[in-house]
């Protein structure tokens, strides 16, 4: 199924690990130069930034070409057919780019693959009659996204397949509870398959890929069960069809409340059992989401100091775990360590932290200028009045 051979993908993994080990000081650069000669790989890769730019220009040129075709020879009744032809052409282009030029995560073949899904979805959408077959468009999108993920290994296409799958149940039932349940069932079925398959790939290049896929499925399952998040005001402008959490039946509502506590616990338990830090990270994120949505779930008002308690809890847990690990022999306990053993971890933190520090609100740039919110200070120091 996969367009790349297992040997090539394993070689890429080895080359990446060798680079990592040199950066971490486990291997000398001269050793890497020597052993790298044993690892042959014909796939042509590129830098991450260039990959993104090539992806964008592929989308621009191919989408413009399709638009041009529609303008120059406007199809009378065959618009959907033409879109399906474009989808096939883009897919063929992606296959050609890989087979002829051995492109691997190069942006061009990715742009073509993404466009083929977009055209397929649009074509099926245009061809689907109103009524019982309306679900065909998201279903086609989900299937195509999954197949192209399986073919090329683009993990974001698996995410696209999950998103398309989440759009299907609205055509099957008007019940919001039913829609949530169906989506959760989709993701649970996916998890069952991945959990069954993954152990046989623990030691090869597919381990990391299945780890990401499992992480995405757990995240999807959690989001489909947390009714406070799916009806949050953040999402509401884009999905007005989503139900308000008050519209759900009480048994369903309280079942999901139990589940949003259970799912993070299960994720953390499983991730620690199989020693997977990607899934562990997700477990922590969804645990934080559960803590943050607990009060709205219970119908209790948020207090201004709630984030302080949450922050102290998270920092306290982090310090406790870190100390516990650090006090073990060689900083290791139960097979876990707080030390950095992967270059990618540092890469993530180094690239994300400056971006977040710039993008997130900086208190100095947003002075507490809404003066009406400060009513009647009791001390009014520095000669200031108590109201300002």
């Amino acid at each position: 199924m996969r367009v790349y051979t297992a040997a090539d993908e394993e070689s890429l993994r080895i080359l990446q690990l060798l680079k990592d080990w040199v950066n971490l000081g486990f291997l000398e650069e001269s050793q890497r130069q020597t052993v790298q000669q044993d690892v042959t790989c014909e796939l042509r890769r590129t830098n991450g930034f260039l990959r993104a730019v090539l992806f964008i220009f592929t989308l621009i040129s191919a989408a413009a070409a399709a638009g041009l075709f529609f303008i120059v020879s406007p199809p009378r009744d065959a618009a959907s057919f033409l879109l399906l032809v474009f989808a096939a052409a883009c897919y063929a282009g992606a296959e050609f780019a890989v087979s002829r030029f051995h492109l691997y995560r190069h942006g061009i073949e990715e742009g073509l693959a993404v466009l083929s899904i977009g055209f397929l979805w649009s074509g099926v959408q245009a061809a689907s009659p109103q009524g019982s077959l309306e679900f065909a468009a998201p279903a086609a999108g989900a299937i195509a996204s999954y197949l192209l993920y399986a073919r090329f290994g683009f993990q974001y296409l698996f995410l696209a397949a999950m998103a398309f799958a989440a759009a299907i149940p609205q055509f099957w039932t008007a019940s919001h509870s039913g829609q949530h349940l169906i989506v959760a069932a989709f993701y649970l079925a996916g998890l069952a398959i991945v959990v069954r398959i993954q152990p046989s790939h623990r030691l090869d290049y597919l381990d990391a890929e299945y780890s990401v896929i499992e992480t995405l499925l757990w995240l999807g399952l959690y989001l489909s069960l947390n009714l406070q998040l799916s009806s949050a005001s953040l999402i509401a402008p884009w999905r007005p069809d989503l139900a308000n959490s008050a519209e759900f039946s009480r048994p369903f509502y309280w079942t999901t409340f139990v589940m949003i506590w259970l799912v993070p616990a299960i994720i953390l338990w499983r991730s620690l059992a199989i020693r997977d830090r990607t899934i562990t990270s997700l477990g922590l994120v969804v645990a934080i989401l559960t803590l943050a949505t607990n009060k709205p779930y219970l119908g209790l008002p948020h207090h201004a100091w709630d984030p302080i308690l949450l922050g102290l809890l998270l920092i306290g847990v982090a310090i406790a775990v870190r100390r516990w690990l650090a006090n073990g022999p060689a900083g290791i306990r139960q097979g876990f360590t707080a030390q950095r053993l992967s270059g990618r971890d540092k890469q993530w933190i180094d690239s994300l932290s400056p971006t977040l520090a710039i993008v997130l609100p900086n208190p100095t740039l947003a002075p507490l200028s809404s003066e009406h919110e400060f009513g009647g200070g009791t001390s009014g120091g520095g000669g200031a009045s108590s109201d300002f």
Binding site: F26, S61, T337
Partner: protein
């Protein structure tokens, strides 16, 4: 051949030592499993939640708590954070010894910002001259970032300095204000010059990338916003060409593809906006995107093959 068989082979050949073989086999099996990333997530989310909660509490309960309690509490957090950092990294040449120090410093800096915002809003010590606070805060953050080798705080310092210039992230894309544009260019040039100077002086040269990325994006975005003007855009267009040329040249010379990507994207958007702004025919516009899109793909691919290195 799998990773494990390769490792066995390299050990037999004597390329790697038996100790390295054991270590690398273990690492390949995630033994031990590193919780470095999850712990960083906990620390980062914890610090943000804590400071966010402090800000919310101060805003909501300023009247009930009173100035003394608020200022004392915030000062205590700030002093505690700085005390922890200075006592745990006493040597200026020592890099941050652990992740806790990074986040304690970040907490201290955010608390400083919060406290300063409160004090100025409440007491108007500088008669509302907020700019002076911003400049002083930026300098303070720069000093701390370099003292403790902290990228979080360096980025905070750069964003605070941008605030002093009147630039905020929400105003960057496509703004039409010419005064803002000039300040943005001044800021970008200052950041670029400061970054180059610090690197030449060999002061934390590994921070150079952060300085240069911020400078390149601010400069190119500011100049590009001038190209979008309906009148008097020619000068901005020429400046954009110069900027993109410089970014491209630097990217090629240093094999830094991110700067090639900046040149390609900013340059393409700028040139396209000039060329298609008077086109009303959809066929011509789409033809333009087909031809130029393919041309960019070819040019970038050739560039990558000629000058490239794999990621």
């Amino acid at each position: 051949m799998t990773l494990f068989s390769q490792l066995d082979r390299w050990k037999e050949q004597g390329t790697i030592s038996p100790e390295q073989h054991i270590l690398l086999i273990g690492l390949s099996r995630d033994e031990p499993c590193s919780l470095f990333l999850p712990l960083n997530i906990l620390f980062y989310a914890g610090v943000l939640a804590l400071v966010g909660g402090l800000g919310w509490t101060v805003r909501t309960y300023a009247a009930q708590l009173g100035d003394i309690i608020i200022v004392t509490a915030l000062s205590a957090i700030l002093a505690g954070s700085l005390w922890h950092c200075f006592t745990h990294a006493p040597n200026i040449l020592t890099q941050a010894p652990n992740m806790v120090l990074d986040y304690v410093l970040y907490l201290g800096c955010l608390t400083w910002s919060l406290e300063l915002a409160y004090i100025e809003t409440r007491f108007h010590l500088l008669s509302g001259q907020w700019d002076n606070y911003l400049l002083a805060t930026a300098c303070f953050f720069f000093a701390l970032a370099y003292r403790f080798d902290n990228r979080f705080v360096l980025s905070l310092a750069l964003s605070t300095l941008a605030g002093w210039f009147g630039i905020t992230i929400s105003r960057l894309p496509g703004t039409q204000e010419s005064s803002y544009r000039q300040y943005a260019i001044l800021y970008g040039l200052l950041v670029a010059v400061a970054g180059i100077a610090l690197r030449r002086l060999s002061i934390k040269p590994h921070f150079f990338g952060t300085w240069l990325n911020v400078a390149a994006n601010v400069l190119l975005a500011a100049v590009l916003s001038g190209v979008f003007e309906r009148a008097g855009y020619l000068l901005w267009f020429l400046l954009l060409l110069v900027g993109c040329g410089a970014s491209l040249a630097y990217g090629l010379a240093r094999r830094q593809f991110v700067f090639i990507a900046y040149a390609a994207l900013y340059g393409y958007v700028g040139i396209s906006s000039i060329l298609i702004r008077n086109m009303s025919d959809a066929t011509a516009v789409l033809s333009y995107f087909v031809v130029t899109g393919i041309a960019m793909l070819v040019a970038l691919t050739v560039t990558a093959r000629r000058f490239g290195r794999e990621s």
